[in-house]
């Protein structure tokens, strides 16, 4: 297996593919992630998503990609009873994360904007046949993590189409893999905890992690992070450091991991167990809870 690395969607894309298809696989992935970023980035004023966010309550014709992303986002919100909320774009921008994270001021000035709950996804109107989407006024989509997950799923499917199997594809730590040939070892994945990493074997499917180890900043002297609690409109203040979830696709894993993080350890564990989604919930003190069949891990050697 050989490794492909490049930057897209504000993060590092890593793929493991058979060496014989490296050139073609890299070309396909660079093109695919580039298209996802150009259409769905909320940091690019000319992206299709930004244009939709500026549409101010009027229907807008959208591409199949954006339509599908909005559909999946709303389905994810509904499936988590709103714990995953794709309509917090204005909220997180008001908290200071209104540009690519590398450009976010480490101590941004306080914002006069009042915190308000999310839930705008319930009022989005979609006409799938005509590819029309209408966002209510004041509702801005942020498809960040979900878009990365969907791009990973799409990328893995594309790799399969060109014969690049088995393969593992990761966007900033949210990953999916096709099954290795029978008799071969499954993929070995190091999952971040509070202190150190834990190894699990992934034969097929996806793992996504939502947590606050990164993308933190200060605003008006207050600590901020990017995982917003839709109930308050503020950064989630629960007891979790991270939530890692395995699912059949990276998009599903991303939705579930974000929801579990927002819900906190007790409710998050209940949510994952009821959906039979294996998860690893790590408290802020580093205590780890395995849920719904998450296997006993091996500790990774210190990096």
């Amino acid at each position: 297996m050989t490794t492909i690395r490049f930057s897209a969607m504000g993060t590092e894309i890593v793929a493991l593919v058979p060496g014989s298809v490296w050139d073609e696989a890299r070309g396909e992935l660079v093109r695919l992630f580039g298209e996802w970023e150009s259409r769905l980035s909320r940091f690019r004023p000319d992206s299709e998503l930004s244009q939709l966010n500026r549409s101010r309550g009027t229907p807008r014709h959208v591409s199949p990609m954006l339509l599908e992303a909005v559909k999946v986002a709303i389905a994810g919100a509904r499936a988590t009873d709103g714990a995953f909320d794709p309509t917090l774009g204005a909220h997180i921008a008001a908290l200071g994360y209104d540009r690519s994270f590398t450009e976010v001021a480490p101590d941004a000035p306080a914002s006069p904007a009042a915190h308000r709950p999310g839930g705008g996804w319930r009022r989005i109107w979609i006409d799938g046949e005509r590819r029309l989407v209408m966002l209510p006024r004041g509702v801005h989509l942020d498809l960040g993590g979900l878009a990365k997950g969907m791009a990973v799923d799409a990328g893995l499917a594309r790799l399969a189409e060109i014969g690049a199997t088995p393969a593992l594809l990761s966007a900033g730590g949210d990953l999916a893999a096709s099954a290795p040939p029978e008799g071969q070892e499954p993929w070995c994945v190091a999952v971040d905890g509070r202190y150190g990493r834990r190894l699990v074997a992934l034969a097929a499917g996806a793992i996504a992690t939502s947590g606050i180890a990164r993308r933190r900043w200060r605003q008006g002297g207050e600590e901020r992070h990017h995982l917003i609690d839709p109930r308050t409109g503020r950064p989630a203040a629960g007891d979790l450091w991270s939530a890692s979830v395995a699912a059949t696709s990276c998009a599903r894993a991303e939705v579930a991991a974000t929801a579990a993080f927002v819900l906190g350890s007790a409710r998050g564990a209940g949510f994952l167990a009821s959906r039979r989604l294996p998860g690893l919930l790590v408290d802020r003190d580093g205590t780890a809870h395995r849920v719904a069949g998450w296997p006993a891990e091996r500790q990774a050697a210190a990096a």
Binding site: D174, E185, V200, L202, G205, S274, E297
Partner: protein, 94 residues
């Protein structure tokens, strides 16, 4: 937007069943399908998840047009790695 464009937009919206440009949560013609796909969501064996529309089930959105990708046969498969296995990838906050 000019007044003329607003009138034209309102007229076109009427054809779509959107009255006055209001953000409707339903579609009178039955064509608006938030979060719906052509695939019938699988029924989950656990009734406690019956309110999630099968989003997390393997068969949900398994048609080729879905943005959820093709689910692997048998679902996600996790296990304890064998002794000596070396990490090939990392999952963590990004």
């Amino acid at each position: 937007m000019t007044a003329a464009k607003r009138v034209a937009l309102a007229a076109s919206l009427a054809g779509f069943g959107i009255w006055g440009g209001l953000a409707l949560a339903h579609d009178p013609r039955g064509t608006a399908t938030p979060a719906a796909t052509a695939t019938t969501p699988a029924t989950h064996a656990d009734s406690s998840s019956s309110d999630d529309n099968g989003f997390f089930d393997d068969s949900y959105g398994s048609d080729s047009s879905s943005g959820l990708g093709a689910a692997p046969a048998g679902g996600a498969q996790l296990s304890t790695p064998s002794a000596g296995a070396q990490p090939q990838a990392r999952s963590g906050a990004s």
